[in-house]
Symmetry: D2
Subunit: 487 residues, 4 copies
Amino acid sequence: MITRRFLFGFFALILALGNLHRSANVTYADSDGRDEMLRKMDERADHFGQISRRIWEFAEVGYKERQSSDLLKSELRAAGFQLQENVADIPTAFVASYGAGSPVIGILGEFDALPGLSQDSIPEKKALAAGAPGHGCGHNLFGAASAFAAITAKDYLIEKKLPGAIRFYGTPAEEGGAGKVYMARAGVFNDCDVILAWHPGDANGASLKSSLANISAKFRFHGQAAHAAGAPDKGRSSLDAVMLMAHAVDMMREHVPQTTRLHYVITNGGGAPNVVPDYAEIYMYARHPNMPTLDGIWARVVKCAEAGALATETRMEMELVASVYNELPNEPLANLIDKNLRRVGGVKYTNEEQAFAEKLRQSFALDGALSLGSQEQVQQMEGGVSSGSTDVSDVSWIVPTSEFRAATYVPGTPGHSWQSTACTGFSIGRKGMVVAAKTLALSAVDLMQDTKLIEAARADFNKRRAGHEYHSRIPAQQKPPLNYRDK
Amino acid sequence: MITRRFLFGFFALILALGNLHRSANVTYADSDGRDEMLRKMDERADHFGQISRRIWEFAEVGYKERQSSDLLKSELRAAGFQLQENVADIPTAFVASYGAGSPVIGILGEFDALPGLSQDSIPEKKALAAGAPGHGCGHNLFGAASAFAAITAKDYLIEKKLPGAIRFYGTPAEEGGAGKVYMARAGVFNDCDVILAWHPGDANGASLKSSLANISAKFRFHGQAAHAAGAPDKGRSSLDAVMLMAHAVDMMREHVPQTTRLHYVITNGGGAPNVVPDYAEIYMYARHPNMPTLDGIWARVVKCAEAGALATETRMEMELVASVYNELPNEPLANLIDKNLRRVGGVKYTNEEQAFAEKLRQSFALDGALSLGSQEQVQQMEGGVSSGSTDVSDVSWIVPTSEFRAATYVPGTPGHSWQSTACTGFSIGRKGMVVAAKTLALSAVDLMQDTKLIEAARADFNKRRAGHEYHSRIPAQQKPPLNYRDK
Amino acid sequence: MITRRFLFGFFALILALGNLHRSANVTYADSDGRDEMLRKMDERADHFGQISRRIWEFAEVGYKERQSSDLLKSELRAAGFQLQENVADIPTAFVASYGAGSPVIGILGEFDALPGLSQDSIPEKKALAAGAPGHGCGHNLFGAASAFAAITAKDYLIEKKLPGAIRFYGTPAEEGGAGKVYMARAGVFNDCDVILAWHPGDANGASLKSSLANISAKFRFHGQAAHAAGAPDKGRSSLDAVMLMAHAVDMMREHVPQTTRLHYVITNGGGAPNVVPDYAEIYMYARHPNMPTLDGIWARVVKCAEAGALATETRMEMELVASVYNELPNEPLANLIDKNLRRVGGVKYTNEEQAFAEKLRQSFALDGALSLGSQEQVQQMEGGVSSGSTDVSDVSWIVPTSEFRAATYVPGTPGHSWQSTACTGFSIGRKGMVVAAKTLALSAVDLMQDTKLIEAARADFNKRRAGHEYHSRIPAQQKPPLNYRDK
Amino acid sequence: MITRRFLFGFFALILALGNLHRSANVTYADSDGRDEMLRKMDERADHFGQISRRIWEFAEVGYKERQSSDLLKSELRAAGFQLQENVADIPTAFVASYGAGSPVIGILGEFDALPGLSQDSIPEKKALAAGAPGHGCGHNLFGAASAFAAITAKDYLIEKKLPGAIRFYGTPAEEGGAGKVYMARAGVFNDCDVILAWHPGDANGASLKSSLANISAKFRFHGQAAHAAGAPDKGRSSLDAVMLMAHAVDMMREHVPQTTRLHYVITNGGGAPNVVPDYAEIYMYARHPNMPTLDGIWARVVKCAEAGALATETRMEMELVASVYNELPNEPLANLIDKNLRRVGGVKYTNEEQAFAEKLRQSFALDGALSLGSQEQVQQMEGGVSSGSTDVSDVSWIVPTSEFRAATYVPGTPGHSWQSTACTGFSIGRKGMVVAAKTLALSAVDLMQDTKLIEAARADFNKRRAGHEYHSRIPAQQKPPLNYRDK
């Protein structure tokens, strides 16, 4: 028998979850004008819904979100926010501020679309423009709801004559472009006390989850072209290099911790079959719940690339596309959000929406999915590690940050799909966005009014970050990859 | 941001561990002659220690354990046990029984060595015979301690005039030969009420762990030989087929649950380099914590093999070498063992043994290892899934079974190493074996005297097995691979 | 057509074949108005040069040559030819005929450009439009010279009142689209007595070479998409299938005759790295000097593709893109062409052209290249097997056919390069095209006037084809891949 | 020596080389006692046949040919030869010399067997000892015939009172051990004027063929062992490195000249499947008709190995096993041999031998094989490049050397097969060996008596070697791999 001392190492992370649900027992904060605030939000919901719809129609990919960014900026400027534009040399990144002094509460807003997901807001597959981008991750709602919340909180600040500042961060290119990492490098988050964020989803819920740190790069190989029938011995194939690297990475899977994720596509596999390819490119992601561990894994991925070049007499160059940290959860903030989310409640469908939802659910596997109706509830807070990665994580290592999700998709809808794109352009998405905006606004004003909450968030942040130092794996001299979405 | 609803799926298994350690608070059973029994065991410890040493010196690999099996049989026969030999057509498998009626308490004993691990019982690397087998998994102690316990329990049975029967199962070829699966098929465990087992380790502890189900096979490819310089186009390379299959399996790693394990060696990679290999062989293991899931994975491994043959115009044949289940833990039995193990206590080293241990610990990485001295304690019971596989698991699906470990190796010693081989031939190993024998004997007599314990074990067994049916993946017509250790 | 200057190196050894050079000793045919014909051609050279330049500027890829085809058609129609358009359901394929009765002499004309080879007509690398197509194989000259020759021969036919017909075949998509194979299937070559063709090159010379039979296909794999970090075990990667197939083909190289050529590019290697690719495509060529041998090799390539799908649980579909035969040379026709080519003579450069040539030759390796000045000579006829493939070959199995080359590129210029594109848009290319047109016209009228030449060509054709039957490997029901150049 | 009957298929085209067959017209040299010499050889044929049979029974592999070497030495010593033993630190290498002064005529003799080819001297497959070595390349005959010829020539030398010396070179380990390369390095061939050799085959014939230069090495990879289920991430697999190197080499096949040969077997593919292999080995051959070209190819093979190590974090070490040159043919010597071989004539079978031959020919494919009866003829001399490699080649770069073959196998018998082993132990083999011995003896005495022949051989040698310098690719410090046949 083989020694039994090995445990799949990962279980330990989940054990401290005992009292996650304590928040459910917390007494709701007294209204102090919050009911009125929420009522006014209902009045303005259509306006911000239309903003989300216009961004959905713009469907601009990472770093190209000119119209989307401009629309949000004009809305915030009109509401009296001061604008810092072209942050970190990114044309579509901006910070909108109102107020001064302490505390400083930031709210994140994203607005980039995904390539190839164009889809009408109907429950059957139909692209608006074949191959065009679409909002399959609902960032049209994300940006609009966050702006809605920032403006609402600002109004409350004025009304209550509270000290402190509200910030809206217009953060481009979350999808693979790591916009926030460059904004973080520019220091725009440094003086914040707390950052709030949310994300479209198929359910409502606060979160104590971490996420996967992620490093991604394009490895480009340069060989020697030759006529593939006439003089293949004169050629040195860059595609051979790509394939050898990929094979090496595939074998490496056995020899990394099982929670690692390595995945790639071949973005250039040669030109014409009758020419030995002198250029080929592979686009590689590596992820792990822990950044220093990921560093070691990534160093080995690079060796695989070097080996590909060595064996094939080609030349390799690597462009680091993005790198984000694993997310640092924050328990006091998550509890606060959970409380407010429960106060706001979930989403109720009209008959028309119910029909849309039923139809849509016929188009994907329901195996393990939340049931229809669950959009009306708020889920229990979850810990563990999400399988995704986000540049919100980098912010979470600088400022106490918490993110939650609201049910903007029909329960069970997979992310990054035509179905999620359909939802985020439809009234169902806009209803979920209002849940998010209200929860953000309530939490922001709670934090403005109760600095103990901020202290608790800071203490939890310090504890979790202890012994680690944040520094992005993107080289200091690297500029934002403003054209990373170009072929 | 990517949808967060994915959790690394595995954590759930560990949650029911809340009250594992309850046993520590249980009042020790009153002696009722047990102290005397343990005292007599001390007297006979040397005798059984010598038996373990002789088996260590025999160092016979799976299904070839003639002398080892004979030695244990003669000991048990001399003690009055009835012997059923050549069980399941395996020359070295046997059942030794004493008594009749109910209950029937079985104790498992293994005695096969591992190839290539020959080593002297000294704390530095030195083979007794280069390349020869050695007891790197301590089965020499396993068999001897279990026989010691069975004989002791039999004596107690006689002394106390208790009803019921004691069984010793002589189970060959645990290391890759799955001997118990063939014995199970022959029905020899069916009328047992409880099975007890232990395993050599670097610590003392009862266990609630499961293990990995395992399927292994040799895939053989038959091609067409040809002169590799003169007529390679006439050849069809079986090595190409092996390599293609391996590549396919390496890519498949990404597309199986992360707790899957796939590993292989190439056991025949061709003859002379100047001949296109017409024969090649790869030996593949697949493991997963759940047998039905493993079935699906295995079916895909077979497809990879078929693809290797298809692409290379070779012919594939598969020989299933072994298949074992994931282990079914048993909480009442584990609690009973934990209680008795704590009564017996751990292992105290002499000065000489301490020096041996200190020297040995310089030869391996101590990173994460138990500290020296821990051999004196009993560890907390552990749940989860071990990374190993064992044919004890198949028994655990037929009869309530529990296994524990005793500190026969210096703390930190890796299994299947020259270091573990050194320990199992040394006094340190023999001391740990006495701990095991005493714990087995105590537990056996407890079970003989308290049928409620048996009922509780059965109830737990029924609950865990509910909805599943045991049937070995080894084809019914397949005979024990008595020569699987031959090249 | 792919450049023909590559020789399998070993074949050079066998050049001393029989009486290839006999032609050098043949007495030139008496003029009978041919001198006058050539003089008139000099007058019209500029006109057809401009046509070639316009087609060079159109730079239309296979099956999309609308403007190029229209331009040639209008020229031939104006000259009195009867047009059969949309031949074989190909919008740009046509047959232009003049005259009736016997003999029927056909001249082939191509006019498709190559993707990605846009280049100005200057001796340094400069695309006219980055990434756009360009005439790197000189088919702009091919079509224009052949039309020039057909019109000239027609005029001679009228003048001399000769019986018989002249045909110009407008044959699209030589580069990978196998246009002539579909035209052949439509039967348009069946009643021809002889077919003449030429090809742009870096030297002047008649040819007895064969070429490589070629089968090419796109293999498409359909898998199952999944989030590559969240649920990779749910995914079935079509890219895995592509890579496994490619690995199998790479191993197969050892086990095919050494004159085989297998080459591929990955035309779709997945979408985004964070999604398990559910679609991937590989574009594969296989070539061999003998079609039945190639059939066997191709069957094995298909098995590699099937194995890729089998191992990865994906679905494969194959689209046969093209298949052309090995070329059947014709000795009497080659001798005739050699004679006429020597009568016409090579190309003389002006000072400006000399400077262009010298500059251009600095941009490529001269190792083994013909020397500057060699464009003025006519090379010895060559036998052996070219390393290229062409759909002219299919015609050569139906009608006695011969092809020669004229020096339209600076000596040493590699085919399918920016350098060859520069030449074919420059005066150097147009001068070489006149050499070709004159040689074609002379040969056509020789054949019209001397039916013994046709009989000899037919006899040689019958002898070489004996024991074989022509049938294209493109399935009878397959339509021309009019969109094969679309991504 | 590796079977020489394979021709690169294309070379057949060039067989009509100039004046190869001139020899057929040469007037046979006057007898001058040669008839008597041949008569005496018939008397001693049985004696040397028995020597060949004993070596066939010894069946000792490369560098282990103790008994075989001793037997030949004792025979030569008894005949009056002076012995230089343990040449080049090889226990079984020796030089036996008789006479002094000029000229010095050397005759090569080999005597090593091949692993795994044990076979009885009967026409059906039956090993004498399963897995044991056998004389599948007929070196038992090679050594015995050459010794027979050397002793015969020595007797003639004495009888005719001729000046000069006769040498017999006892050359071990031709099969992969490159024994002659180490002997050459020790300088033992330097003062020879001419070297004669032969090789067992399925036909009789002189030769103008070259052979393939060959470099071979064992690449060993050292990784990190780990439990393959418990801690695969701690392991670094040396088998991964082997497989990656092999994949790289397989892709490289496309990018080397087509006459290159690359072939390998995996000689160690890991130990037990449940341990990540920390050791693996691949045995690689690379061949090409030209040594400097092979150098470049080999450098790339080494890069593939380095890449395998780099990507997998393992360590690579290379042991160069052997390296031999391409053979330098010698036309005057080949003509001399051809003349003498025709004088001696082929082999006539008895009825029993005919029955053996007919039966044996049923066991292999006759496709393309010489017909039964052809053993009685002498084949036309062949040029081109054989697909085999031999360490005779290295001698051929130092001294004018020529090798021929005699029909010791039944026509059509593949080399390195149980069938060739059966023949070389049977009377058929011994008859062919007498043909060889007589041809060697005749050629040796011709050379002793006619120094013009030696001058002509030297002139041809100088011309062919012009511009090249011989230096073995085996490092100067490398000792003979006396244990290369050990696992």
